[in-house]
């Protein structure tokens, strides 16, 4: 199930909220009941989209729960070898499951392509959210091994941690150590409920009103192909995609954080206006922060981080970025995208550092944004070749600078693009900062309910599907 669906908004969410608050908070006042309601809701949420793969997730939960318990037992008895072998076993299992379901096809087709063997891909569909929940589970196992946390004693609480529906399928990647207290002790209150619900509506609006609309423009640009594309069209296309992916992803995180608040949780932030970044390093401190922090804590720092000699740091960085690229999708253009960022970050760190400081901020921002947009071309293109052709068009390798298509796209979507820019940059908080505190407070009273109604309008109208009787 996704948050922006009729099933979720009309049936699932009201039902879960009503059960949670009536049965859990008002009637029984029991943490166990509240957790049980959330667990059942989360499993239904997942099974709704993945009626088969839910078994995989449950197996994964069960396995890691047992291993965690065993590890703690062995630790108490000071059996270091057993702890280590259990740890390695668990890591191999988790990476193995992720690798098999996510990457097997890619490896088989690539291997067959190189060797010329007639191997057939497995064509297994990717289990939704597997990249996210596997990383959450691994944070539990690694922190347990390092002695940062205690093992979870209750299976259903551990299951709730892994499957908690607000962040189950698209993050943020919440580490067990950050949330273990909240699983057992949290108090719902008006503050977190209303903050959360408002945040959820903001996220829903980002997804339904902005991301989907901008996405359809990029889709039409991409569908027309690079052959007759003008420079103007290419730039409009990639700007739309740049905005779309931010609103889509950060909108999903907003919805997750907001829903967490509705049920009394406080999740980590995931985005912090990434498009005001003035360097690539800055960008990655603002984009998908929970993933960067995961890789920092569990890959980069264990490898030695930046407390080693330069060649080793470069190696560490490249490993992290190769993995980051790979994590985003099972295709070689994601790997290329990761390597691209690895190289940019190393350049920034060691070569451009002094130069960059002398450039005016606005110029640094512009260069950063262009680098980010080029990155998105790799990310969104159907193949690496197509990505390079698209970049070629962007930088002048086209028949025309502007054509009728480009100017029509620009004039008919101008307002949408402006709204997109305003929402991706901190324009709202700047403008409301000009208002008196009283007026600023009242604005939210109008804004969120209005956005919610608009979201419903956009969600329903997207399913408009006329049957065309005589299309001739």
């Amino acid at each position: 199930m996704v948050f922006s669906s009729a099933t979720f908004l009309i049936v699932f969410l009201p039902l879960t909220m009503a059960l949670y608050y009536l049965l859990g908070v008002v009637v029984t006042k029991s943490m166990a009941v509240k957790n049980l309601i959330l667990l059942v809701a989360s499993l239904v949420f997942y099974a709704w989209g993945e009626p088969v793969y839910i078994i995989l997730m449950m197996l994964s939960i069960f396995f890691n729960f047992i291993v965690g318990k065993d590890m703690e037992q062995a630790k108490k008895r000071n059996k270091k070898k057993k702890v280590k072998s259990l740890f390695i076993f668990a890591i191999i299992f988790n990476i193995g499951v992720l690798g098999f379901f996510k990457y097997a096809n890619l490896f088989i087709t690539t291997f067959a392509g190189i060797t010329g063997l007639g191997l057939r891909p497995l064509n297994l569909p990717l289990p939704v959210g597997i990249s996210f929940y596997t990383f959450q589970i691994m944070s539990y196992i690694i922190d347990l091994y390092n002695g940062n946390i205690k093992a979870q004693k209750k299976l259903f609480v551990f299951a709730l941690y892994v499957s908690l529906f607000p962040q189950l399928i698209a993050g943020p990647i919440v580490k067990y150590k950050d949330i273990s207290d909240q699983l057992m002790n949290r108090k719902e209150n008006w503050g977190s409920y209303s903050k959360g619900l408002n945040r959820f509506i903001i996220g829903l609006s980002k997804k339904l009103i902005l991301a989907n609309t901008l996405g359809s423009i990029y889709a039409s640009v991409q569908a027309a192909g690079t052959e007759n594309m003008s420079v103007l069209t290419a730039w409009i296309g990639i700007i739309c995609y740049t905005l779309q992916i931010y609103f889509d992803f950060s909108g999903y995180s907003d919805m997750a954080i907001g829903l967490g608040g509705v049920f009394g949780f406080e999740f980590c932030e995931n985005f912090n206006y990434p498009y005001i970044a003035v360097s690539i390093t800055d960008f990655w401190r603002r984009w998908h922060m929970s993933l960067s922090s995961w890789f920092r804590d569990y890959v980069y720092i264990p490898l030695g981080g930046n407390r080693c000699k330069v060649p080793r740091v470069i190696f560490n960085l490249m490993v992290v970025w190769l993995l980051t690229g790979f994590w985003h999708g099972a295709a070689w253009n994601f790997v290329l995208w990761g390597i691209y960022y690895g190289i940019l970050l190393i350049l920034e760190k060691y070569i451009l550092d002094n130069l960059v400081k002398r450039i005016p901020k606005i110029l640094r921002w512009l260069v950063t944004m262009i680098c980010v947009m080029i990155g998105w071309v790799f990310f969104s293109a159907p193949s690496i070749g197509e990505a390079f052709r698209y970049i070629g068009v962007m930088f002048g390798g086209a028949a025309a600078f502007a054509d009728a298509n480009g100017s029509f796209l620009l004039t008919t979507n101008f307002a949408l693009l402006l709204i997109g820019f305003a929402c991706a940059l901190p324009v709202y908080s700047f403008l409301t900062g000009l208002l008196s505190p009283k007026k600023r407070s009242r604005l939210i009273l109008v804004l969120t309910p209005l956005l919610f109604v608009l979201c419903i309008v956009f969600m329903i109208s997207e399913t408009y599907n006329p049957f065309l009787y005589f299309r001739f």
Binding site: L9, G49, P51, N198, T412, N413, S441, I460, P466, F472
Partner: protein, 394 residues
């Protein structure tokens, strides 16, 4: 100890906003959202289901039937989602509100429909695809070569983007259809081309030549085209007098449906037949015979343009009481449906073939009927996209 920490935190988050007002209004707005959420949910679940949508011209999804197999393959979930959104309260109103919002913010293209000035909607024009058209040209030239004795004419009607261009949204990318049509004519050998672009462009009120909500041409355009075609084919366009009668003023066609913009209504006019000409219409595959080319029942449906011939059929034969003994074959798309009625008195027999639906070989009809004249009548968008001509002639 842990409990203490949590309560401290919750107190903090209560005090956190820089002023009390903000907290109060945030709570109030969350309360309103909660009320909307539950109200929408309640109303959707108790609301009465609609079976059919006029605007979308389709049956709406009904309440899905539960079964384990549909649950396991996910069909139940898809159906439930479709059911909830199809039966959402005020669905049609929400859709039209959405298009209003889109248009307000400058959007001028929805579902391949250009939203023009003064409620004029345009079908997004087709492109000239050399490889696809090469096949069509080869097939048509071949047929002509095999049937040298038949007078063959081709008339490609331009679409509204070419003729009513002043109503197009600013900057809308449209090809030059006059050029496209000329290129088509140049690629056909032995065909007598009929120029429709020129005369239609010269019309006094070009905006009356096409429906605002549908991709077809109107009776006014048909009159102009008829005179041009008749002149080319050596017929006297003044031999018979026709009158156009309005049969409906509430036509909202394909372009309105595709875009979801139902702000205008069109009038459909049909020509009266000269009273001294009788005719019989045979729908060959359907084995149905009538005495009229009009299907009045279609005026009660959404597809009101189908009042002409009841829509598109593979093969229709019209036999008339005309004293002329010539036999005309028309190979066509739906633009021809409103023009053919005017040709009836000029021919003893008219055989109408629509290659998109006809499954036989056109040569077979030519061989059995003694066809003397042949007219290819298409609109540019359909002809440019067509793949059926090549396959039905080979």
């Amino acid at each position: 100890m842990e409990k203490k920490k949590v309560t401290k935190k919750s107190v903090k988050s209560r005090k956190k906003p820089d002023n009390k007002d903000y907290f109060v209004y945030e709570c109030l707005s969350a309360l309103i959202v909660t009320v909307i959420l539950f109200a929408v949910s309640f109303l959707s679940l108790v609301g009465k289901d609609r079976e059919y949508s006029e605007n979308e011209n389709r049956y709406l999804t009904a309440k899905p039937q539960f079964s384990w197999s549909s649950l396991m393959d996910g069909k139940f979930m898809d159906d439930a989602e479709a059911y909830l959104s199809d039966q959402f309260l005020l669905r049609d109103k929400l859709v039209s509100l959405r298009t209003d919002i889109d248009v307000f913010f400058g959007k001028r293209e929805i579902n391949d429909v250009y939203i023009g000035k003064k409620h004029f909607l345009f079908e997004k024009p087709s492109v000239y695809n050399e490889t696809r058209l090469k096949k069509t040209f080869d097939a048509m030239n071949n047929l002509k070569a095999k049937n040298q004795g038949i007078n063959t004419y081709i008339a490609i009607a331009p679409n509204s983007t070419e003729i009513v261009s002043s109503y197009l949204p600013s900057n809308a990318p449209v090809p030059n259809q006059a050029e496209q049509i000329n290129k088509i004519y140049q690629n056909l050998t032995g065909f007598t081309p009929v120029d429709l672009c020129g005369p239609l462009k010269k019309a006094e009120n070009p905006q009356d030549l096409y429906y605002r909500t549908d991709h077809h041409w109107t009776a006014e355009a048909v009159n102009i085209a008829y005179r041009e075609i008749a002149k080319s084919m050596g017929l006297d366009p003044n031999a018979y007098t026709y009158e156009n009668l309005a049969v409906t003023d509430s036509f909202q066609g394909t372009l309105a449906s595709s875009s979801g913009i139902f702000s205008a209504k069109d009038t459909i006019k049909v020509p009266t037949c000269p009273s001294d000409v009788m005719y019989r219409v045979t729908y060959v595959d359907e084995e149905r015979v009538t005495t009229t080319v009009f299907d009045q029942q279609k005026l009660g449906t959404k597809s009101k343009y189908e009042v002409f011939f009841g829509g598109n059929y593979p093969e229709v034969v019209i036999e008339s009481s005309s004293s002329n003994d010539r036999v005309l074959m028309v190979v066509k798309d739906s633009y021809a449906n409103s023009l053919i009625p005017l040709l009836i008195p000029h021919y003893k027999k008219i055989i109408i073939v629509d290659p998109r639906y006809y499954n036989g070989n056109i040569q077979d009809i030519i061989d059995t009927e003694s066809v003397t004249d042949m007219l290819w009548l298409y609109n540019a968008n359909t002809f440019l996209n067509d793949t059926s001509i090549a396959s039905k002639l080979s």
